[in-house]
């Protein structure tokens, strides 16, 4: 025993510098830790933004015959921006982007929530069903575009099924300009409603059981429980799910490209496809840069406002976690007490 303490003392003895928690050394470690990340962020945000701002003021492109460094020869100030803001195709693409985002997120939200309610109560094989709904999320978006491309064919299974079940004539899902945009949305909904479902399922499962039971005992109907308890309690989760899905839906590209390439005409062209077309098909790189800058500014503004709920939820989950831990501690203590008491009595 004594030898052990001696040994301990001996180990502590060398007058090493004390670790300075929170001191200067720590700060330098912290800076070193995040530096590569900040560099990468600069490469993926500031650097392209700088290029885009520069090129956005020119009408330069690969067909102009000069290289990147001489793009200034085609300087035209805000003409590119002006063109974008006065082009119908740009505004139509914006409008479609918003439409796709709103419709997809709304349907995914409702579908996901409904599914979560359906699967909330445990039953045999629930785990399997949950796994099953995971699969669409795992499909490569381009692949899901391809799959629906097959399904939507005029002679494809969807039209055949409609004919067999309802006797409805074949619908031109991808070639009809009025229908195509909805066909495109279905793909995103198929792929991402499961995410909403998963988020809500874990949210619903975490609802405090006693409070839900209390509401039932007080006679609250299903709708009352939803309105007064489930939705208010899940508000942070619902918000996060909505925001994250909206961010992703705003950016859809792969599935649309494989389904319609923006067509027919430009009936399914959202902002991503519009940018892609201007870049690769029309090779108007100067103009594409102007549009990209407009989109970046727009997204930054919206993003600043949209990210706050996530920030709050982060803090709240932390708070909740500590709260839950406290409750668990109290419960554990109680159990121990009870056990001791029970033992004492027997």
């Amino acid at each position: 025993m004594e030898a052990h303490t001696e040994e301990l003392k001996a180990r502590q003895a060398p007058a090493r510098r004390l670790p300075d928690f929170g001191g200067r050394q720590e700060k330098s470690v912290a800076r070193t830790l995040v530096a590569p990340g900040q560099l990468l962020m600069a490469f993926i945000v500031l650097f392209p933004a700088a290029i885009a701002i520069y090129i956005g003021f020119t009408s330069w492109g690969p067909t102009t015959g000069v290289d990147f460094w001489h793009a200034y020869e085609f300087w035209h100030w805000f003409d590119g921006y002006w063109e974008a803001l006065t082009t119908v195709a740009f505004w139509e693409a914006m409008w479609r982007t918003v439409l796709i985002t709103v419709v997809c997120v709304a349907v995914e939200f409702l579908l996901g929530f409904g599914l979560a309610l359906l699967l909330l109560k445990n039953f045999k094989g629930r785990g399997l069903v949950v796994v099953f709904f995971l699969l669409p999320m795992m499909v490569v978006p381009a692949v899901s575009g391809f799959i629906f491309f097959m399904i939507y064919q005029l002679d494809g299974p969807l039209n055949e099924a409609l004919d067999l079940l309802f006797g409805v004539g074949p619908v031109n899902w991808l070639q009809n300009a009025d229908i195509a945009i909805w066909s495109v949305m279905v793909v995103d909904i198929w792929q991402w409603a499961p995410l909403m479902f998963l988020i809500f399922l874990s949210g619903l499962a975490a609802l405090p059981e006693d409070q839900m039971n209390q509401a039932r005992i007080l006679g609250a109907s299903f709708y009352h429980q939803l309105r007064y308890l489930v939705i208010p309690m899940m508000k942070p989760i619902l918000l996060i799910a909505l925001i994250i899905r909206a961010i992703e839906a705003f950016k859809i590209f792969d599935a649309i490209y494989l389904l319609t390439q923006g067509g027919p005409g430009n009936a399914t062209e959202n902002i991503s496809l519009y940018l892609f077309d201007e870049t690769s098909a029309n090779t108007r790189w100067g103009y594409a840069s102007s549009v990209a800058i407009i989109v970046l500014i727009l997204v930054s503004v919206i993003g600043y406002w949209a990210i706050r709920p996530i920030e709050q939820a982060q803090e709240e989950t932390l708070e909740e976690l500590t709260g839950a831990e406290l409750a668990a501690d109290v419960a554990a203590e109680q159990r121990v007490e009870e056990a001791i008491e029970a033992e004492a009595r027997v």
Binding site: V143, H224, A288, V299, T317
Partner: protein
């Protein structure tokens, strides 16, 4: 007065509150089965399609709900095992996707490694030292909001200029793609790993430092082993994201330097018409890794896709 009825002397049951029919047992099962079938059908279709011979792909006026003459031919062609000379669309060129799959694997793994290396340190810095200020995590998150195309266009000019565009070193190492993949998935690593690091008590690294480790030693020897599981999940998750990319590869590569999803798209339409069976076989191959990994990290999937905001 409904609220203040006088105390009753005997018990009278009030009317039942109603649960919607679709949530009652029978309706519930039926609804689940119906929605499940709808959600399953696309996958069913692509899997069965991959086993159908050419005449059953999409003949006019007839739909083959099930492969009448199942065949492995599609997979053989896609994997370059047989060249399949009997195709009516045969243009003499090989349909093998092996090269593209190799490109996909290399780019996805390379991007994952880059994102992990950079992201882990950033995440630890943020979680442990609040490095870079309170807003850094949100700046990183905001990065995810930009449509990738808006960022890739300027980088395309840059890549073209420095000769990185469509460039494969050794015929398989696409540095440009790897850097982009790493940069684009880096926010996920930061947010996920941050949430894992936050669960490691500070005392663990402090104890290691008191025992004589440096900050770095404490990180590698004490903290990192604590988040092994989370690290593996993050790696798989980020791999899935990179593997799923289409847009970046579409813009940044061409021809034989593309990845498999881009090749899948190139098989569509064009002179030879749609090659559903071949495409479906490739699609199935593309689905397998994310599906397997996704099921492996099921527990962390929601956390990953919500940037760690929703745990469980």
């Amino acid at each position: 007065m409904a609220a203040v009825e006088e105390t009753r002397t005997t018990f009278v049951a009030p009317p039942a509150s109603r649960t919607p029919r679709w949530l009652k047992p029978t309706g519930r099962i039926l609804t689940i089965v119906l929605i499940g079938a709808l959600f399953a059908f696309p996958l069913y279709w692509v899997v069965t399609m991959s086993f159908k011979p050419l005449p059953e792909w999409n003949p006019p006026g007839k739909v083959y709900w099930w492969p009448d003459n199942p065949t492995l031919e599609n997979y053989e062609k896609i994997l370059g095992i047989s060249s399949g000379e009997q195709s009516v669309f045969a243009t003499g060129r090989s349909r093998s996707a092996v090269e593209f799959l190799v490109n996909s694997v290399v780019a996805a793994i390379g991007g994952t490694i880059l994102a992990l290396i950079v992201g882990i340190f950033t995440a630890y810095g943020i979680a442990r030292f609040r490095a870079g200020g309170r807003m850094l995590p949100f700046q990183i998150l905001q990065l995810r909001m930009f449509p990738p195309i808006a960022i890739i266009i300027p980088l395309l000019f840059f890549y073209v200029e420095i000769g990185l565009w469509n460039k494969e070193y050794f015929g398989w190492f696409n540095l440009g793609l790897i850097v982009l993949y790493g940069a684009v998935t880096f926010p996920f690593v930061v947010w996920l790993m941050r949430s894992f690091f936050q669960e490691v008590p500070r005392e663990i690294s402090e104890a290691a430092i008191v025992d004589g480790c440096t900050q770095w030693g404490a990180f590698f020897k004490a903290v990192l082993p604590q988040v092994k599981g989370g690290l593996a999940a993050t790696a798989l998750f980020v791999f899935i994201l990179n593997w799923s990319d289409f847009l970046i590869a579409k813009v940044m590569t061409q021809d034989n330097n593309s990845t498999a999803p881009v090749y899948l798209q190139s098989l569509q339409g064009g002179a030879s018409g749609n090659e559903y069976g071949l495409q479906a076989a490739l699609a199935c191959i593309l689905i397998i890794p994310p599906a397997v990994f996704g099921l492996l990290i099921q527990r962390y999937l929601v956390r990953g896709l919500t940037f760690g905001a929703i745990k469980r």
